[in-house]
């Protein structure tokens, strides 16, 4: 009888006691969306997350800059400003201007940009959770600054160039007006907005940011970073009066100055007076891809995937110009720029020197001297580089000075396009409107977005 009792007890226990409560497990490295977007700190954390995303290697950690130089290079050994020696086929195709729609680097830029856009939309839509009105205003303004930056590069890379002489109704990129959190059973397809519409979005975002950002905001975006970026955008639109006003405002009130030497202008990990906006890289966060592509293996890079080409050296007229010697050789004898020798250094996005170049160019084009004469602005840069000064400067000299000063910093193709300059490439000549100078809308997007139109020739 004893056995029977035990048997019954065991049977009942087995069949009726189960461990359902043991199934309620929670992830330990992630938070449920529902808990994040219920608190002020949650929203603020997402804003920091958006900056973290900007520091991704595919964005301003460096590949955005690298690709502008690769795409702008002639690739001819006699004229190219950079040589491509790397093995990444996707970069090689950008350099050769024979990309296919599955180019992984173009795809990364596109995807990461929209991740940033969604994160910033989340911040903007949930900003009401931030109780302090001033904090709320700044958070929204930072989110808008980031959107302005990202949309501007998206439209420059993925659309035919803005031309002030046309209505710019060519397709730009998708503007995502709302945050997306719910993905299940939702059709997320959308057609691209026109280039004109994207520029309107960029400018309105940056104007709002300029209005609401504080003058000083640590390593995050501040008021004059927004103004400086606006100057860059207006210049790209060939809107010289607006570019001049914005650049002059940032120069006058931003409190920036040039670093005393070329060496001190680069490879630092705290904000310097010359830095208008940089991406902070630490040994813990961020991914310095400009270092990766430009530096030797002993300095943390891949050994010199990108080396300085003869087409850069041939642009110097003064042999004493320190920028012509601002390089070192790797073990293959290739000239590597000294701009990126520290893998944990911040990556510059806007330097003060660019503002001087914008003001000089706009003043020259408008034959004005707002703030300073073009020669004065240019000579500030040349003096720092140890180069002889100009008494007067021509537009051509200013544009050349831009290339000397801003090479390898992500300006090359965009300057060629806005100046309507052709690229005499290895195999053929590319007009500034050549569709091969535009990134393909990624195959990955074409496959999943039923409404989107691909770029011509891809």
């Amino acid at each position: 009888m004893k056995n029977i009792k035990i048997f019954l007890f065991a049977l009942l226990t087995t069949l009726f006691i189960s461990c359902e409560s043991e199934l309620e497990l929670n992830p330990k490295q992630s938070l449920d969306s529902s808990t994040v977007l219920t608190s002020e700190s949650g929203v603020k954390q997402v804003l920091v997350g958006a900056y973290a995303n900007l520091a991704n290697g595919s964005l301003y950690g460096g590949r955005t800059q690298i690709m502008a130089d690769l795409l702008g290079a002639t690739g001819r050994s006699s004229t190219t400003h950079i040589e491509w020696y790397g093995t990444f086929a996707g970069f090689g195709d950008i350099y050769a201007k024979n990309m296919t729609s599955d180019n992984s680097f173009a795809e990364d830029l596109y995807r990461e940009s929209y991740d940033v856009i969604n994160a910033t939309n989340i911040v903007i839509e949930n900003a009401a959770l931030i109780t302090n009105a001033n904090d709320r205003k700044i958070a929204v303004a930072e989110a808008k600054f980031i959107q302005g930056l990202v949309y501007f590069d998206l439209v420059r890379f993925f659309a035919l160039p803005f031309d002030a002489l046309t209505p710019n109704t060519q397709l730009g990129v998708i503007i995502r007006p709302k945050a997306i959190l719910e993905y299940q059973g939702v059709d997320l397809s959308a057609e691209r907005n026109t280039v004109a519409e994207v520029y309107i979005k960029v400018i309105s975002s940056l104007r709002d940011a300029y209005a609401d950002l504080p003058v000083s905001n640590g390593e995050f975006a501040d008021k004059y970073a927004a103004q400086a970026l606006l100057a860059r955008v207006y210049l790209q639109q060939q809107n010289y009066p607006a570019a001049l006003t914005a650049a002059n405002d940032a120069i006058t009130f931003g409190g920036y100055s040039l670093s005393s030497t070329l060496l001190s202008a680069y490879n630092h990990d705290t904000k310097q007076p010359e830095d208008v906006f940089s991406i902070a890289i630490t040994s813990q966060t961020g991914d310095n891809q400009v270092n990766n592509s430009h530096a030797s293996t002993t300095l943390g890079g891949r050994g010199g995937d990108i080396a300085i080409g003869s087409g850069y050296f041939s642009r110097f007229i003064d042999p004493n110009d320190q920028r012509s010697k601002f390089f070192y050789e790797n073990n293959l004898g290739d000239a590597l720029t000294l701009k990126y020798t520290n893998q944990f250094a911040d990556v510059p996005v806007i330097r003060f020197a660019e503002l001087l170049l914008i003001r000089a160019e706009a003043n020259t084009r408008l034959t004005s001297t707002l703030g300073a004469t073009p020669a004065t602005d240019i000579n500030r840069i040349r003096t720092r580089a140890g180069a002889s000064n100009f008494i007067t400067v021509t537009l051509a000299q200013i544009l050349n000075e831009r290339q000397l000063e801003l090479a390898f910093e992500g300006f090359w193709i965009h300057d060629l396009k806005r100046n309507k300059t052709s690229i005499v490439g290895q195999s053929r000549t590319f007009l500034f409107t050549d569709p091969k100078l535009v990134f393909p809308i990624p195959l990955r997007e074409l496959n999943t977005n039923k409404k989107i139109t691909p770029n011509p020739t891809y």
Binding site: I17, E22, S34, V46, G49, A50, G301, L332, R444
Partner: protein, 997 residues
């Protein structure tokens, strides 16, 4: 509640231990074979009960039975007989040809094969012992119908891919569930270098008695939500009644790569690249100080002073050492098995080694007539020297990209670092990568006979997989700019399983009924941590403490749990009509909140026609059985928290932040496979020829997909149960005793497996899911290569040509060619997985000589060489080229498949079928020749058996595949069917000796 639940489960066990019962009378006897030699280890069971005993070393047994009861006496390979119990009985067992008395191991019990309605493939120790491979899965290749076993590549720790009846899942796990002596094994890859590390290489093949692979729903449904990929049941060796038997085995072998590829030598390199540069208007690299001089690093390439064969730097002769020892035996109360094993495998790949110790102890004791308890315990220590993954410059196989003009080493012996790409030798000279796995698996079990046909089993098992990785990068390691870096990681994966179940087993007249019902709780937890430090004062200091800055660290945990109830009923009538039904209810923490529990039923039936009166005792058709099964199983390998909408940490400039990390899906659940199986088992000529034919058809619904989202939405994929796949095929097994004489036996076994795994439905109304080189498309294979079709070379100008394949107005494809890659559309162009597999094993015993070999073949798969655009690119860049690139187009009229050499022009280097090749192969997988010394020669030494053997793996390979080897696939990232600087497998020959005493 949490504590209570576990407490109660343990209590059941504790209670059962206290129960003791009375003695009964006993019968003794002796079991012999027809020649009168004792049969040790024979099973003696009182018919209709579970009271059993085993014969000892002298064939003697004692069983608690009364005179007149019927005893069932069986021994593997001998014919089971039923005999009335009497005092001092002598039982003679006949040879059994049919293997019908084989006992199959299923979940929570065993079953005689003749009463089974399941599709199960089985191997036993003798099929896999002494094969010189370092993991158990590799020893099974070619021996199991319906089971495809593929090693990723030739690294000693490399991943294994096992597909039971094809692949049903696309994004969820595809590997079977491994169950060792009733405990579910941890099989989670914990490698941190991007290349897989096989977690089951900690098992030692010498401890294994048998492996049963459950393939159909009837057998696997008892594992419910985890059974859909098949179940591999591993049974370890146990002691047998009799005096202690010692056995020992030592072997030593050498290995080489199965195959290597030929690359350009120096003169050919100079010729091709000079031509490629000049064709595109680039400077002549032969000029002084130009590229060839740079590559030669001070050597005179013009005089042929340097001609480096980089393959020889990467691959080497390997060595395999195996030594194992076991002792087993027991009394009728307690049986024990102890074993120890040592393996050392110096891989064919430079800097790749594995060294392993295994120890096991299996003990069972009868505490009383009604209560049996025991413990299986094993621990192992596996130390592995690893390289970086295939997609890194520092992995040895990427050395084949280096120019033959570059010396491997400088005159002073240091690695030459002036190479085109980073020289892996600089990595090996200045770094190490050591992985250490300590594993403990144990099971504590009790079995209590409650009242005659009813017993209760309770098992508590525990599996600990503790792995550390230590990577040291010296100051001169490539890409190290921090004067040294050290990475140390540790992961502890723990799993415990508590199972309690009742078994009712009764035979009355012709009826045989077996019912199992129980409960099981599984808990898994994983804890990972790592730390990196940089800036070291000396290369001699290689631990975290010596670094000046701790610059990275990681710590994370994850877990899952299953809560299950299960039951199974098996019934047979007169061994003629067979029926089985099973059901399992699984709840899991992995499933979405709307779908937390699933029920998995299966039914099966069999008809043993040969037991019918009209066929009984027919010796021509000696066995004929039809069986069919239908049921559902699940695949719960969907990720631990895939259903949740999540944000994860994303910090910037040392400030904490959050970003969306995963879109949520509350409906997420297991994948549901519904499988139908129809089988015929037959035996001819008194089962001298026997075989099985199975047809299966498996629909897997609710297929888990990381459904691609428009990447402009801020998320890349969402995990959904959407989509349907179908897997079907035939399995055919034929066994024959070609010669069956007293001192000369020749057995042959052939298995043939076909499998077609097709996509039936996809998300978004069947929208194609396109990856880099592959596609999932409705109506096509689970994965298909999706590539632009290469059309060779324009004889007029040397341009690479591609087939347009654009759709014409009439729906057909435009088959004209173009030299503009962007004008060509991709097409489905091959299957990464074999559709026909076969194994053919022969075993010949002649007096003291034994000889066996297994051929294995696979057909229907292709491999895409994604390194082709670097290796076979008609001189597009400085990478050394495969020798076939010398056949490039040179002048108008040249007919060739290799386009004109054009430096950096991308002439045909785009992704296309140019780099896709069929990988059909037939391989002499194993061959063993052994000689056992005659008993008379060894008797005096006290040994009972001495056998000397020569054995080999992968000795011959017949294939037209152009790459390294059909089993050399990329080990980094989600590269389905790709080769990318992958290591070919080893072919090994070993000489060994077995001793038994």
């Amino acid at each position: 509640m949490k504590i209570k639940c576990k407490l109660l489960l343990s209590l059941i066990f504790a209670l059962a231990v206290q129960l003791i019962s009375a003695q009964e009378s006993s019968i003794s006897g002796k079991v012999t074979d027809m020649a009168g030699l004792p049969v040790p280890g024979a099973n003696v069971i009182i018919k209709g009960t579970t009271i059993s005993a085993q014969s000892n070393f002298d064939g003697e047994f004692v069983i608690k039975a009364k005179k007149g009861q019927t005893l069932v006496i069986s021994f593997l390979g001998l014919k089971t007989i039923e005999i009335t119990a009497s005092d001092s009985m002598v039982v003679k067992l006949n040879d059994d040809a049919s293997q019908l008395e084989t006992v199959l191991v299923m979940g929570y019990g065993t079953q005689l094969k003749k009463r089974s309605t399941d599709a199960v493939s089985r191997v036993t120790a003798k099929d896999i012992e002494n094969i010189p491979v370092s993991n158990i899965q590799n020893a099974l290749v070619g021996k199991l119908a319906g089971v495809q076993i593929t090693q990723t590549n030739g690294k000693v720790e490399g991943g294994m891919n096992i597909r039971v009846r094809g692949q049903a899942s696309i994004s969820a796990g595809t590997q079977p569930l491994y169950v060792l002596d009733g405990m579910i094994l941890i099989n989670q890859d914990e490698s941190t270098n991007g290349a897989p590390l096989n977690p089951l290489l900690t098992l030692s093949p010498n401890e294994i008695e048998s492996i049963d692979v459950l393939k159909d729903a009837s057998s696997a449904a008892i594992y419910g939500a985890r059974g859909a990929n098949g179940v591999v049941i591993i049974t370890t060796k146990k002691g047998k009644v009799g005096k202690t038997t010692f056995s020992a085995n030592f072997s030593q072998g050498v290995s080489e790569a199965t195959n290597t590829r030929e690359f350009l030598n120096s003169a050919q390199y100079v010729e091709l690249f000079t031509e490629a540069r000049l064709n595109e208007g680039f400077s002549d690299p032969t000029g002084p100080g130009r590229k060839f001089d740079q590559l030669a690093a001070g050597k005179d390439w013009r005089n042929g002073e340097v001609d480096t064969d980089w393959t020889k730097q990467a691959l080497r002769t390997g060595y395999v050492t195996d030594a194992d020892f076991s002792a087993s035996g027991g009394t009728d109360k307690t049986q024990y098995y102890f074993s120890g094993a040592y393996t050392k495998n110096v891989g064919i790949l430079s800097f790749n080694e594995l060294e392993r110790f295994n120890f096991r102890n299996n003990i069972t004791t009868k505490i009383s007539d009604r209560f049996t308890a025991g413990m299986n315990m094993a621990f192992s220590r596996t130390s592995i020297l690893r390289n970086t993954n295939d997609n890194s410059f520092t992995t040895p196989m990427q050395a084949i990209a280096q120019s033959p003009l570059s010396p491997a080493r400088n005159d002073d012996g240091t690695a030459n670092t002036a190479t085109q790409y980073v020289n892996f030798l600089a990595a090996q000279d200045n770094g190490t990568n050591q992985t250490l796995i300590r594993r403990l698996t144990g099971k504590f079990f009790g079995e209590f006979k409650i009242i005659e046909p009813l017993k209760f089993n309770s098992d508590i098992s525990y599996d600990l997989y503790a792995q550390t990785e230590d990577r040291w990068f010296g100051a001169n390691y490539p890409f190290i700019a921090t004067n040294g870096e050290v990475f140390a990681s540790s992961v502890n994966n723990e799993s415990y399983v508590i199972s309690n179940y009742f078994t009712f087993d009764k035979s009355f007249s012709d009826h045989n009924l077996n019912i199992v019902a129980g409960q099981e709780f599984t808990s898994f937890a994983s804890r990972f941590q790592s730390v990196t430090s940089i800036f070291f004062p000396s290369d001699a200091l290689q631990t975290i403490d010596s670094g000046a800055e701790v610059n990275a660290g990681s710590g994370n945990e994850t877990d899952y749990a299953f809560d299950s109830l299960f039951s199974r009923l098996s019934y047979s009538y007169a061994n003629k009509y067979l029926f089985k039904a099973s059901i399992r209810r699984d709840g899991s923490s992995r499933f979405g909140q709307n779908n937390q529990y699933g029920i998995f039923p299966a039914v099966s039936a069999g008809w043993v026609i040969s037991e019918e009166a009209f066929l009984k005792d027919n010796s021509t058709l000696s066995n004929l059985k039809l069986r069919a099964s239908y049921g559902q199983t699940g695949n719960a390998e969907i990720g631990n928290f895939s259903s949740r909408s999540l944000f994860a940490g994303a910090s910037y400039n040392l400030k904490s932040g959050l970003l969306p990390s995963q879109p949520g899906n509350d409906n997420l659940s297991w994948e549901k496979s519904t499988q139908f199986d129809l089988g015929i088992e037959f035996g001819l000529l008194n089962n001298r020829i026997s075989g099985e034919i199975d047809y299966y058809n498996k629909d897997t619904d609710g297929l888990l997909f990381d459904v691609p989202l428009a990447i402009s939405s801020g998320a890349s994929t969402i995990t959904q149960n959407t989509g349907l796949s179908n897997s079907r095929g035939f399995e055919f097994v034929l066994n024959g005793k070609i010669i069956d004489q007293e001192d000369f036996q020749w057995n042959a076994s052939l298995n043939v497996t076909t499998n077609q795994s097709k996509v039936r439905e996809l998300p978004d109304n069947g929208t194609d899911i396109v990856n880099t080189f592959t596609i999932r498309r409705v109506g096509e294979n689970i994965n298909s290569f999706y590539l632009v079709e290469y059309a060779g070379v324009d004889p007029a100008n040397g341009d690479a040509l591609f087939v347009r394949n654009t759709e014409l107005a009439d729906g057909s494809l435009d088959k004209t060619t173009t030299n503009d890659y962007s004008e060509a559309r991709r097409v489905v162009s091959g299957n990464p997985f074999a559709t026909l597999m076969s194994g053919f094993t022969n075993t010949i015993n002649y007096k003291g000589i034994d000889f066996s070999f297994t051929f294995q073949g696979e057909w229907g798969a292709s491999i895409y060489n994604s390194g082709g655009l670097f290796q076979s690119a008609n001189g597009d860049f400085w990478d050394n080229q495969t020798i076939d690139q010398l056949n490039r187009w040179q002048q108008p009229g040249d007919i060739t498949n290799v386009p004109q050499a054009r430096y950096l022009a991308g002439n045909g280097t785009q992704a296309s079928t140019r780099y896709l090749d069929k990988s059909d192969f037939v391989r002499l997988r194993n061959l063993t020749l052994g000689y056992s010394l005659p008993k008379s020669a060894i008797e005096k030494s006290g040994l009972s058996r001495v056998r000397i053997y020569l054995t080999g793996v992968n000795l011959l390979t017949f294939t037209d595949y152009i790459g390294y080897d059909p089993e050399a696939r990329a080990d980094q990232g989600d590269r389905i069917g790709e080769e990318f600087y992958s290591v070919p497998p080893a072919k090994t020959v070993a000489l060994g000796v077995n001793l038994t005493f």
